[in-house]
Symmetry: C2
Subunit: 213 residues, 2 copies
Amino acid sequence: MIQVLLVDDHKIFTEGLSFILANEADIAVVGECQNALQVKQLLASQAIDVVLLDINLGQDSGLDLCRYIHEHYASTKILAISMYQEESFISKMLKNGASGYLLKNTGREELLKAIRSVYQGGNYQSAVVTEIIMKGLSRQKQQEHNIYQLRFTRREKEVLELIAKGLTTREMANVLFISEKTVETHRSNLLAKFDVKNVVSLLKVAIEYGYVK
Amino acid sequence: MIQVLLVDDHKIFTEGLSFILANEADIAVVGECQNALQVKQLLASQAIDVVLLDINLGQDSGLDLCRYIHEHYASTKILAISMYQEESFISKMLKNGASGYLLKNTGREELLKAIRSVYQGGNYQSAVVTEIIMKGLSRQKQQEHNIYQLRFTRREKEVLELIAKGLTTREMANVLFISEKTVETHRSNLLAKFDVKNVVSLLKVAIEYGYVK
DNA sequence: AAAAAAATCAGGGTTTACCCTGATAAGATT
DNA sequence: AATCTTATCAGGGTAAACCCTGATTTTTTT
């Protein structure tokens, strides 16, 4: 009997999955969680074989939770579920210990196949996901400037957020207790990293790629 | 028997719903659609009582589809489902003919209640949604400056879009064949209407409220 | 220990954004 | 006919953004 835990902040989704899985003789849903805390508590009290984990857990980070589970419960397999087919998400989840990545637009059959596959120690990626990863890999080789894998320093993130709040250079300098010149440097670096020429474009791209909300 | 149609581009979600609803004696799921075209075709061939409609249909706009259904099949009730609790989304859906709005984090019980309620000609809003709408309404009354009902002139819309593309005043002037001063006037009017003090905030608010994508 | 990355700041410059007042003219509305 | 809205443009100013070069110190990585 495969002990399965469902994790998604959308209750109706986990309930739906629960109904789907209820029909399978070899699968038992032992819990449905809406947030990271619930998951940690449940894992502490009970052995779980497979966790169906949504990346987007509202407040909590599905990524962090994924790593947590993988580190603390090595034998528990994780199947990431997401509606986003961004390559960055997928590769991050896989790096953080997920044995598979499913999109929410996959069907019941594939879900069942994936659960059984990872339970037996294997991996499972849907065809679509595999394709995306492949494309990502080849893209990485070709073009150096990949906006999905930009890395920012602590300060750059802070400045980006303050820019998004509409603060001017002077205001940011006051908030961060650094000189205006330093703020300008960080902003300038951000513009270069995003390959844009003014803050308006910066903000737009940053929102578009989820770096700020 | 309530004839229900499920519309969501995430197959696994509609399948989950389908399983949930299968247990109810008075409800029959007569179809699951992943896009607008499928919905239109199915509606043309079959009478539907209630459509569970996700706002986010990938390519297609759930909003437009909502209006389409409401206009062409007046007796068909629409229950909007979304993971977003933005007041703008909710009110837009309700304006476009939805009889109710559910968040994806509502449970099975509430879903069933909502379906039966709208089927009988009523409306249904979950407590959370009601609260959000109320807040929105009271906000409208209190503060005269209601960002949701701002009206823009043709030029203002054009300038806003160009700003969002990151163009400078000069570039906009060239594109629109008007003087820089005129562009400045339009931009200035936009800043005033949105009640912000620079283009960065302008863009952010405009994106937030759906005036630009 | 050495190298790389990150954070800090400055001078000095150009460009763009932003603000205010004021004005004209065409088109829509009442 | 009178009014309102929209679109157009100008002068003249301040503030902010943006660019380039160059530099020091701290932190992190190798």
